[in-house]
């Protein structure tokens, strides 16, 4: 079982295996499956992410009517060619919005590590995959890196907003995405670990405060910050910039902050944005059974 990112780094340096291979081998041992079976399952995950991205139309709205359509808006804006973020990051923003909206609007997605944070990892991977014509093998390797990082964080800290706040959900997704990006660019295990540290440090303390308890506001747009944070941390790590705090220590600190977070800021919808007058009004509207049924018919 994966309990330490530093252990993966040490293992990689000791044996010459890449980060992803250490994760893959641990999985084959842990679940008693062959490499072939494990990779077939990972391919299923990747195919589902691609299908999820393709299924987005921007026309569907969530049951509450709060979200839907912003991914499309962002794409249209990008096409005008004047966005500040540039081509790749512009697409990352649009994909993060689209995927998170798809989740809120009851389309099929892949939880990564949770449904609420499902947009972060595909948002950084998909645009790169299409732009640079990456091979399927490269992407699968990146997904192993991401899942290994997530597994360690789940073990040492938490990946659920209800127990660790949004830093545990979007933060973890962001760390997974950063690690995947570094691996895709040929960064070694040590660089991956630094990217994870930087990512988690920069989202530490983020609370979970979903309006009316629904995975919509602020969740959809938080997928964007998770993805952009991953891109910047990956670039920093690839530039040779290091985290001064060791990776497992950062994960533990995140877990500690999560445990100390007041209950009101852990998915209970009693604090933060959920407690604003607008948030309360939405909650009251939902309680009256006025869930605007805005899901379109296909």
């Amino acid at each position: 079982m994966l309990r330490s990112i530093q252990w993966i780094v040490d293992e990689s340096e000791k044996t010459g295996k890449l980060f992803w291979e250490v994760v893959l081998e641990d999985d084959t041992e842990e679940r008693q499956v062959s490499r072939h079976e494990s990779m077939a399952q990972m391919l299923t995950i990747w195919s589902a992410m691609q299908e999820a991205a393709d299924s987005y139309t921007g026309t569907r709205r969530s049951v509450s009517g709060l979200v839907g359509g912003d991914g499309l808006k962002m794409r249209q804006y990008n096409l005008r060619g004047k966005n500040l973020a540039g081509d790749y990051v512009g697409e990352v923003i649009a994909e993060a919005l689209s995927m998170a909206e798809s989740n809120a609007c009851m389309r099929r997605i892949v939880a990564a590590p949770t449904a609420g944070a499902c947009g972060v990892l595909p948002a950084v991977l998909l645009p790169l995959y299409y732009r640079e014509e990456l091979s399927q093998q490269q992407v699968l390797e990146a997904l192993y890196v991401a899942s290994g990082i997530g597994a360690v964080i789940a073990h040492r800290a938490s990946i659920a907003g209800a127990s660790g706040g949004c830093q545990a959900e979007i933060g973890t997704a962001s760390a997974m995405a950063a690690g995947a990006l570094v691996a895709l660019r040929g960064g070694n295990a040590r660089a991956i670990a630094h990217a994870v540290s930087i990512t988690l440090k920069n989202l530490m303390g983020l609370v979970c405060d979903p309006v009316a308890g629904l995975v919509e506001v602020p969740c959809v747009k938080r997928n964007v910050i998770g993805a952009m944070n991953a891109v910047s941390a990956a670039d920093m790590a690839l530039a040779g910039i290091e985290s001064r705090i060791g990776v497992d220590e950062v994960v533990d600190a995140m877990g500690e902050v999560g445990r100390r977070m007041p209950m009101e800021l852990r998915e209970t919808a009693l604090g933060g944005l959920a407690a604003t007058p607008t948030g309360q009004a939405v909650k009251a509207r939902m309680a009256q059974g006025k869930a605007a049924d805005m899901l379109e018919k296909q």
Partner: protein, 231 residues
Amino acid sequence: MDIFDILGPIMVGPSSSHTAGAARIGQMARALLGSQPVKARIHLHGSFAETGAGHGTDRALVGGLLGMKPDDLRIPFAFDEAEKVGLDYEIDTVELRDAHPNTALLEVWDGSGKQLQMQAASLGGGRIVVTQLDGIAVNFTGSYNTLLIRNQDEYGAVAAVTGQLSRMRINVANMSLCRHKRGGDALMVIETDQHLRPLQVDTLRRISGILSVTYYDKEEEENASFDTVDR
């Protein structure tokens, strides 16, 4: 947690606990009833009651009763589907004692009037646990193939069943025995590593003292075909 608890489940949104788990609960009730329910009363407890509508918990439960898996694209339109096949459902809220916040209590009937009452909780990540069956406290998750065997609570019934299983080379992963009161009906919950064939389930039904056998077959993961890359 293994790495496919991190990347996965593949599911219809928005919430693994409130949507994917809810579909699994509905599916489980359908499987245990043994056929398509024609009538269902669904009672939502705790967070299911509070945020269920916004999370599509209601649609997912109904979808599950119609046989939809958590990744079924028809889940958002489960109410329409129910109308099509003639499933008459009612959904309300309930306060259960000592229940997990994401709990649903389901009463379902099939066309012949057979009834099943099941209480189950959604634990996150799409995982569920069945906590009560027809008023008897149980504890199983559907992550194994599961046999539910109702028997007269008399000497030898358990041994006869486990003996038969071992002759069939079926490995018991977990087993528990629940009963209302001594000497009454009892419920054996047996989780097995291997799948059982219909014929094998029938053999168990014929053991004396066995009143009924229900078998839940854990679905296999369907993986993308993959034979190009393996190194």
